[in-house]
Symmetry: C2
């Protein structure tokens, strides 16, 4: 956003109105911004105000004069309209759109229209390939001194699924290269980068990331700082509040980031469950076929793995609470969540085999050895140190338990509504906020037994989350034992 006074000579002579898109120039740089026209004493007629996003993108200083001009029409918007109206797009079209998106030429409503126009099965496989290639082309692309370069991604929708923080130490301890970049939460209460940030700095630039990988063979950093996929960063900013994602965007987003990060072999964890992001085997198979096809087109060895998605992994939901689960598994603590441990071992085993560090069928056993003999824990500490130093997750000042209304058995856990509840409690912006699950599917419970605890950093949010919990009593369904 850029703000000008209604009496500014620019607003008058150029005929600008609120909500107009304007080109702002300062120094040698130019950005497109949405104009806000203001009255009153906030700005002098010869002053301009910039939002933080505009300020950062323009790389200007207080001292530089700003120049405002009518922007050239963003021609690729007509391609977005064509797509919305059902016409397929070519590789050249996607290159034009993605180039403009990456350069910040799309307004938020234009990004929203593009996302909605590509969702709901409206992208052919060929279009997803072309979108992915276009997204790779506009970002930086990392090269690593040796291959294979291992990577993994989880499709998400499953709260607490923080296996990467366990897998990367195992795989790198086995001698493979795994420079892992992760995202922050898009529509979930925590992304892997949000959780890792509870334990070490994750906002490393590419040079810093390289130093970590040279020293330790792997890293766990936030991908956004590296600007590996600037188009994806822009799209995700709108996807998040819209809570909207589609297989096409998902595949293009994930594989463009992986290719840009220099990966050669990528395992994709696809949780399937009635309230996960992928709800049916049919949808899972469509997604895995698309992942394989697009991976092939962009020269990535992609291994999709379908996994349990019926209930959250581990106990914590939210950055700090999930980080505690991870530490417990790495420590080999007796109370560590077994499901998180077993899932990490399963996926690490596949990666060890995929990268040639273990022969077929022996990967999981090797992973187990590396975790149990403490090598994974040592490697994790070393990676944290290399990234800037280990730290401890924060603890929420406000917690309250939600208890069972009846005696019975846990027959259903709604991942989506648990995720919403954790977000209402403040996650991921408030890192200590979230939920701590105290039961699993199939558990017998008595009346009044705690089902989960809500953690919040403010009383307002705690109460807001609890109010939602009161209206959504079957987030954890308890039925008469039979």
């Amino acid at each position: 956003m850029v703000y000008l006074h209604r009496d500014s000579p620019i607003v008058r002579s150029e005929g600008f109105n609120s909500q107009a898109r304007v080109e702002v120039r300062a120094g040698g740089r130019a950005i497109l911004a949405t104009l806000g026209v203001v009255d009153g004493p906030l700005l002098a007629p010869d002053e301009g105000g910039l939002s933080e996003a505009a300020w950062t993108r323009l790389e200007t200083t207080d001292a530089q004069p700003l120049t405002f001009v009518h922007p050239r029409p963003v021609e690729s918007l007509s391609l977005v309209r064509a797509k919305i109206h059902g016409r397929p797009l070519t590789a050249g079209h996607f290159a034009a759109i993605v180039g403009d998106v990456a350069a910040g030429r799309f307004s938020d409503i234009e990004l929203a229209a593009f996302l909605a126009g590509c969702a709901g099965g409206r992208m052919s496989d060929r279009e997803v390939v072309d979108l992915t290639i276009a997204m790779i082309a506009v970002g930086e692309r990392l090269a690593w001194p040796r291959t294979p370069v291992m990577d993994k991604h989880s499709v998400g929708g499953l709260p607490g699924n923080r296996t990467s923080l366990i897998i990367v130490p195992i795989v790198t301890a086995a001698g493979l290269l795994m420079p892992k970049t992760s995202s922050r939460a898009i529509t979930s209460p925590a992304g892997t980068a949000d959780t890792m940030e509870m334990l070490a700095p994750v906002e490393l630039d590419i040079a810093a990331m390289r130093r970590v990988v040279e020293r330790e063979g792997g890293c766990l950093v936030w991908g956004g700082r590296a600007h590996l996929s600037p188009a994806d960063d822009a799209l995700i900013r709108v996807e998040r509040p819209l809570d909207l994602d589609s297989p096409a965007q998902l595949v293009a987003s994930v594989l463009s980031k992986k290719a840009a990060a220099g990966a050669t072999h990528v395992l994709i964890d696809v949780p399937v469950g009635p309230t996960a992001k992928i709800r049916s085997m049919e949808a899972a198979e469509r997604l895995t076929a698309l992942l394989r096809e697009v991976g092939h087109a962009v020269d990535l060895e992609v291994l999709p793995v379908l996994t349990q998605g019926a209930q959250p992994i581990g106990r914590g939901i939210g950055p700090a609470l999930e980080a505690r689960d991870v530490l417990a598994v790495l420590d080999g603590a007796p109370a560590a969540p077994a499901d998180l441990r077993e899932r990490a071992l399963l996926l690490a085993g596949y990666l060890l085999e995929l990268g040639g560090a273990a022969s077929g069928g022996s990967g999981q056993a090797l992973a187990r050895t590396i975790l149990d003999d403490g090598r994974a824990r040592g490697k994790f500490e070393a990676i944290c140190e290399a990234q800037g130093g280990r730290r401890n997750p924060p603890v929420a000042p406000f917690t309250r338990s939600v208890t069972a209304d009846y005696e019975g058995r846990v027959t259903g856990i709604d991942n989506r509504r648990l995720a919403r509840l954790a977000k209402l409690a403040g996650a991921p912006q408030d890192p200590a906020a979230g939920l701590e699950l105290q039961v699993r599917l199939g558990d017998a419970v008595v009346r009044g037994q705690p089902l989960y605890a809500v953690h919040a950093e403010s009383l307002g949010q705690l109460e807001y989350a609890l109010a939602y919990a009161a209206t959504a009593s079957d987030v954890i369904a308890v039925r008469d034992a039979v």
Copy 2:
């Protein structure tokens, strides 16, 4: 938008972030707004800032305290996501969505996603009916003392198509009731309301509109002031910058407004041409079938009429320039644009027959008599007076002609690019801005002969429009005469 300081106790205790949706309460009213968090001295920690839209909607004063709370989740957004993902919606779903849209609970990106999700043939006829009924239900609905109540609408995409300003005086002079509400431009350089505003006030509330209709039998006012279709008003605000419309939205928008305005008989002018909004006979027939079906469902007698759409109507494009064309036709000036005159007579004739003021086949002759004997002109002046007084259209201070590069014949006129050019010149926000066409399809031209003149209210916009004209030389295509 609502703005709070980063150090505001509300931002801190509630964990609000920029871009968050917040509920703002003042007096007895509450609105949903998007939060902007500001630093520096603009706002004190205990102050809130409201955008003009938020201020107007909240109906507050400086003195009233503002209360900020986390809004309840807007549940109908999950229906929007379902629609985007390809699931059909029911009448109840549309009622929920449209109710939230009308109440201002959707952010702009959410509106954009809804529009894109409904475009491109993704709405069944049943869904368009349900959307239309929902849009009628949330607005006011006018009742008139007698029937029939005539109305008309043009589907648009054809610059200069300002027949309503001629038709309403003819039809009302013949004794029929025609309380015409019009829209401002959505994606075009002028809407009928924008053009009428050049000649008389159009922002009448319902009481004032009633007084005009009681006195004169008809009016030509802006429909937005009457809040006849508040959901449509919200959708159009986002449709306009997106330059996105679809048959489904078009039919729901038009017929909901007509039903809400109390019309019983509606003529729909559907221009068909290679660069009009409707480009093929096939698309025209789909649209007319949809108009008839939805009209039937909401108890409207709808008569779609397919018309010429190959080139603009009249000479002017832009509010003031179009108003001048209208006055010339009403005056019977020899230089008046014949195409605008004949088109208005054709459509007025159909309306006279549809309303029973003329027998089948004789409507056009009656319309011609009423126009030529000065009754239409007199009625138009009377309507303008009743609406608050006739005025004269403004004249642009800056004009420049664009001339033919070659000798030859005009073989094509691109409505869309002419419209864009007129918008770049400033229309409709700058009412005097726009284009004045000096040739028609088939005209022979010599090198250097003016094709059209660009009118602008600022030099910056004139030059900007001319720069675009230079890169789009085939806006008016001139080919070797053969």
